[in-house]
């Protein structure tokens, strides 16, 4: 296999990856809720994510119920609950740790591939659900997978370079194409 063919394969893979990485991105509002949190109890949310950029994260942001009751009106969907929160990145470094009152929203930048963790401890005196809501801008191009996009550009550039070198070698240096 000569250099032109290696280049053309890399170019094809790079272009397909570039098309995929630049078109797909996370968007909108994603809400997660797992059971109820008793007084003094803790809960951890694990976010397995690609480096998808800026987002807004809300702890204890109650969504409207199916019964039509307003937010925070269900028996166990309470707001204004004091909690202790801790947010760690995939390398287990603490990004934020503080005592807050729900709903508590903060800006994050998800720039590392891996598992981010949100630990929440109920410091109030009631049982409540503790949803985690992650909000991305609607179709924000910054919310694409940064590492995949970079890899696609590298592969495309490398493929194009190898094809160019192969063509130059073939036509100007007279190297025979041994593949066909």
């Amino acid at each position: 296999m000569n250099i032109t063919r290696i280049g053309s394969v890399l170019l094809i893979v790079g272009l397909i990856l570039l098309m995929n990485a630049s078109s797909s991105h996370v968007s909108g509002r994603l809400s997660h809720k797992y059971g109820e949190l008793d007084e003094g109890e803790s809960l951890s949310y694990v976010i397995l994510t690609a480096p998808v950029g800026p987002a807004n994260m809300c702890i204890g942001l109650q969504t409207e119920s199916a019964s039509g009751l307003p937010r925070g009106f269900n028996k166990n969907d309470l707001i204004d609950v004091p909690v202790h929160m801790k947010f760690t990145d995939p390398n287990n470094n603490t990004i934020a740790e503080k005592d807050v009152i729900t709903p508590y929203c903060f800006d994050v930048t998800l720039n590392t591939r891996g598992a981010y963790t949100v630990h929440v401890t109920n410091n109030g005196n009631t049982t409540t659900t503790m949803p985690l809501v992650i909000i991305f801008d609607f179709h924000n191009p910054d919310n694409k997978e940064a590492d995949k996009y970079l890899l696609s550009i590298v592969l495309t550039a490398l493929g194009a370079l190898l094809v160019a070198v192969g063509v130059v070698m073939k036509f100007f240096l007279g190297e025979a194409d041994s593949t066909n």
């Binding site: 893979v13 991105h25 997660h32 951890s44 949310y45 397995l48 994510t49 690609a50 390398n91 593949t179």
Partner: protein, 268 residues
């Protein structure tokens, strides 16, 4: 030793012929395109401790499932072209007149298609899985889990390549054998799409079909599909599916090999 070198030269020549421009580029492009579009951006929120296992296994099964039909068609077309085209162009006569055994010629033609095609599809699977899930903590898991796609794809490709070589040797016409092989591949895929509403309870046994068995071997191995109702079709363990796909891999290969080495004749 000299004979072995000659076999190797023959293999290189055949691989160069089968994978000449633009076949390799088209196969890589097609398999990569269908694989990458079957994978979504990694964004999962769970309440349990960080565990990439279920996410990675689901993705491997999804990629393998998506790749299966194109691999069926590609292996069929390439093997048909390799055998039938050589026959039509008179190259088979030249090959058989060389001081090489028929076993070597058969093995070379088979290996020249099956191994590169398997490695391309597995390499693409590994690349996509590594690209999506490779982190310092999940590196070993990525390679361990991706490895299992290799034997599954190899046996699946071997089955269709065996079927295609039998069709090519019997029909001896490039276009005819390619079309028949493609139709046979589509038929094997099509029957797995039939549901119990159409076929009744017999549809449950389609997990044992050559198309579905490799995929179920992976699903059972990874535990992505739970054992459900009573009955062998719902409870066959992974090793059972692996035995089945090994059987499928050789079921057409052995008679085709025997036919090629003992009965196959080149006629003017």
């Amino acid at each position: 030793m000299k004979l072995k070198n000659f076999d190797l030269t023959l293999l290189k020549a055949d691989m160069r012929k089968v994978w000449s421009r633009p076949t390799l580029e088209l196969v890589v492009g097609l398999v990569f395109f269908i694989s990458i579009t079957s994978v979504q951006t990694l964004f999962e929120v769970t309440a349990i401790s960080a565990d990439f296992y279920s996410v990675i296994t689901e993705t491997i099964v999804r990629i393998t499932t998506t790749q299966m039909l194109p691999l069926v068609i590609l292996s069929g077309i390439l093997v048909s072209l390799s055998f039938a085209r050589d026959y039509e162009q008179g190259l088979m006569q030249t090959l058989l007149s060389l001081p090489v055994s028929r076993t070597s010629i058969f093995a070379v033609k088979f290996v020249a298609v099956v191994f590169p095609l398997t490695l391309i599809s597995w390499g693409i699977t590994l690349f996509i899985i590594a690209m999506n899930y490779f982190t310092a903590s999940s590196a070993l898991l990525v390679f361990q889990l991706s490895f299992w796609a290799l034997p599954v794809m190899l046996f699946a490709v071997m089955f269709y390549a065996g079927l295609a070589s039998l069709i090519a040797l019997v029909l001896k016409k490039t276009i005819t054998s390619t079309l028949v092989t493609v139709l046979a591949g589509f038929f094997v895929w099509f029957i797995t799409t039939l549901t119990p509403e159409v076929l009744g309870t017999i549809a449950n046994y389609l997990v044992f079909s050559p198309y579905a068995a490799p995929l179920w071997a992976l699903k059972r191995l990874f535990g992505t599909r739970p054992y459900s109702e009573p009955g062998l079709e719902m409870n066959l363990p992974p090793w059972g599916f692996f035995i089945l796909i090994i059987f499928y891999a050789i079921v057409f290969l052995v008679p085709t090999y025997i036919y090629f080495t003992r009965k196959f004749e080149v006629k003017e």
